[in-house]
Point group: C2
Chain length 231, copies 2
């Protein structure tokens, strides 16, 4: 038999009923079997639609209890963390980067205290500056686990940023991040060609591969940068 409607159409129709308050917030939905009968399709097709609505935070599902319209539909948004090179080139600008400083030794105290690194691990610290059309757009400090990546000490970061190198070495790494607003210190401000105390976004990164911290990164973006998304 030819399918009349598919799972996306079913999702849309359910969504319409919720929007129109035919199925108010918190109310139960018919069971998958009942919906399949109504839409004249297999239960698997209804299931696929409902799984998506559940992932979207619009419907709550429990065995035996059934599906309900969520009382407080979640506002979920997907963001993609991109390399600064990608950000710059997507603006149609040319990308360059420059290594400002490099040092090698113990991990910084704060990174030991928060459990990122073990005290005896050898850390390569890179300070770098990143440009779009010659204008500085990002000042970055990276602390890279050289105990885990001995080859990093021979690496030159004048063409590719530390993050690019790390993603080549460890393309499926996990991690966490947080954005804050900070007032620039004198040194960073000078590099970014901004006034001291200018407010900019600071992104902190914690990169993990197989349970071991491979790097900590701090990215101070220039003022024209913002983090956007939709839901």
């Amino acid at each position: 038999m030819a399918p009349i409607i598919g799972y996306q159409e079913i999702r849309t129709r359910i969504l319409e009923r919720i929007r129109s308050k035919q199925w108010p917030l918190g109310s139960p939905l018919p069971s998958e079997v009942a919906l399949a009968a109504e839409f004249q399709c297999a239960r698997a097709t209804v299931n696929r639609a409902l799984v998506i609505l559940a992932e979207e935070g619009i419907v709550d599902r429990k065995r035996k209890a059934g599906s309900r319209v969520s009382r407080f539909p979640k506002k979920l948004s997907k963001i993609e963390l991109r390399l600064i090179r990608t950000e710059v080139e997507q603006r149609g600008q040319s990308y360059q980067c420059k290594q400002l400083a490099r040092s090698f030794g113990e991990p910084p105290i704060w990174a030991v205290e928060d459990g990122s690194f073990a005290p005896q691990e050898q850390i390569l610290h890179i300070e770098s500056l990143h440009f779009g059309d010659g204008k500085p757009v990002l000042h970055q400090r990276s602390w890279i686990n050289a105990t885990h990546f001995p080859q990093v000490v021979d690496q030159c970061f004048d063409r590719a940023a530390p993050c690019e190198w790390l993603l080549q070495e460890c393309p499926l790494c996990n991690g966490s991040y947080w954005f804050e607003a900070v007032a620039l210190d004198a040194s960073t401000a000078e590099h970014l060609e901004l006034e001291e105390r200018t407010a900019v976004l600071l992104m902190s990164l914690h990169l993990i591969c197989d349970g071991v911290t491979i790097a900590r990164v701090q990215k101070a973006y220039s003022t024209d940068f913002s983090l956007t998304g939709s839901f």
Copy 2:
């Protein structure tokens, strides 16, 4: 026949082969039929695993061309936009909010210029302050479409924030947002009990329902707030 392994196990095994470079970045994966034969399961099960890997940005799939390990695996992160009340209460603090000012009239110029509102629309502007355990944590300006929501003019925002009210009226609305860093002006700083020019996160919201802008919101968070996520 009892299933030996499920789609999650298949996803994990494929992931392991990618991590171990058995299937390097950019290399083709076996077809769904071949994988189903190898894993001794139905093609639908393999399909489900591959669909997830594609959503995760780890695998690229095209008809006829087949599946490939992505050359540049994406770093995707899901974030949930939550009400300030939820943020505060999750910290174990008590939530209060206060309306600071209210005015009614034309939309602000910038909101007309960027297409959010039509010039003839009536806008209710609310300035509000939000507290955790009595300490100010968020200063908010909301511009609400009163042409679309005539009932908003009678609404008191001393207990529930404008966003809470909007989400009750329009629980499935869409929208976009962006985070910037700003230096506080004197007035906002005083409300937040911070020094003038302090750097804080500013979140701008554009709320849309059925194609019409129902509100624009600006949220200036206190210094202890950050936006976090993982991938």
